[in-house]
């Protein structure tokens, strides 16, 4: 049923797209139709695959690093009042900055290769991961803490056996969000300076008025992001369900 409705929505979107192209008769370098994009995709499938692989590696490494960093930060914040006072305002302030503006700087610091893109992805997902897990850690049901107290539990044992497991569903929702954000980060990194990746391919195609190739690359990125989101959702469903 779910698959069927997804299929119906896809067909509908393609029909609207094709309708606009047929009605307006726009030149194909302005708006290529779905059929042309599909053809271009097929002709360039190896180039697209190669560049998708590059972006995927950046995204997955970024997701892993960002999650580890976010989890460690949240634990530190939850554990120490000093850390909360010193670090939390800074964390919120970084969210007020346009992280995209940092991309050229990251390229300057880390070069044109993999790591400037990983860093960009990490920057984008770090906050959602940290804040969702931190919220979860601070909102342990008070009854559990009372019980632990009457059992003479130390703070470390409470953290390990109660607060962390109780916060895992919050972390899971942060990770699902991060799975959607991370590819955006990597692509922004690629736009600023790179010689491969889907973001690079989109920019290249755009510069040469190969709008059909640009669409093909963009749609591939979209499909990749959705697949990544579904994978993370599936991977986290177990912990989220069990702790509820």
């Amino acid at each position: 049923m779910k698959l069927l409705s997804a299929l119906a929505a896809t067909v509908f979107a393609l029909a609207v797209w094709q309708g606009i192209v047929s009605l307006t008769d726009l030149p194909k370098f302005i708006l290529p139709g779905p059929v042309l994009v599909a053809e271009t995709w097929w002709q360039n499938r190896w180039i697209i695959a190669e560049n998708t692989w590059v972006t995927a590696v950046e995204v997955v490494i970024g997701l892993a690093c960002g999650t580890v960093l976010g989890v460690l930060t949240a634990l530190q914040l939850a554990n120490s009042r000093v850390a909360r006072v010193l670090v939390q305002p800074m964390l919120v302030f970084t969210q007020a900055l346009p992280v995209f503006a940092l991309a050229p700087l990251l390229t300057l610091w880390l070069g044109y290769g993999l790591w400037s893109k990983v860093a960009m992805a990490v920057l984008i997902i770090y906050f959602p991961i940290t804040s969702s897990f931190f919220d979860g850690l601070m909102r342990t049901p008070p009854g559990y803490l009372d019980l632990a107290r009457t059992m003479q539990a130390g703070p470390r044992a409470v953290l390990w056996h109660i607060r962390i497991p109780a916060a895992l569903p919050s972390l899971a929702s942060g990770m699902r969000l991060a799975a959607v954000y991370a590819p955006i980060g990597a692509v922004i990194g690629e736009w600023v300076g790179s010689s491969q990746g889907l973001g690079y391919l989109m920019l290249l195609a755009n510069g040469r008025a190969k709008t059909d190739l640009m669409f093909a690359a963009m749609l591939t990125l979209g499909v990749f992001s959705i697949l990544l989101h579904l994978t993370v959702r599936r991977a986290t469903a177990r912990i989220a369900g069990e702790t509820r």
Binding site: M151, A157, T243
Partner: protein, 242 residues
Amino acid sequence: MTPAPDLTIRGSAAIGDALLFAPLTLTLAAGRWTCLLGGSGVGKTTILRLIAGLDTGADFTGQITASDRQPVPEQVAYMAQDDLLLPWATVAQNVLLGARLRREKPDLNRRDQLIERMRLQDHMGKKPGELSGGQRQRVALARTLMEDRPIVLLDEPFSALDARTRADMQDLAAEALQGRTVLLVTHDPGEAARLGQSILVMTQNGITPCHPPHAPAPRSVDDPETLEAQGALLRLLREDAA
């Protein structure tokens, strides 16, 4: 388990400038069930939490002492209306929670005995979400017994259960907690009449001791004297509320 001590609470509590309860003295007799009966907001849960050493949001002026002069919070086991089972842990793991939190070596034989005594042997590996309300409270009781403390504090642990399950749990708890100093906080006159070896009614005006029925607790649900006591307790609660 060390022998159960007497417990005495002497003092008053206030939230800001508002008095929660006026100076009072309350004694829990060693090895017996004391039922503290009262409506919402009279501070009966506050008394229980003070004994347990938990945050109450109120300022308590006074003393809580045990006849064996041991620190009280280290001698209590606590059971609340919410079973407080960890949803991610199995029944067996939940029963062992105290030992895990204290990093002690768990006594698996004792755990198995208690689980069997609570008729949970078929549910050892299940998560709390797969159990009924009554089964969950039995796991909570097994966890409480696993702590093996001389003082047991019960904060309306049966009030969310249906009538039949509640009566079953009352019997089971009365039997299992025999010989411990038990404080049962409840708003149910019937529960106090069934289980109290000493019954105290707490209202805005303070604490009134009442005579428990003569039959040994847990009293039968249709024992005439118990039913009469239940009526008398309810009348007392209503008079004071008026």
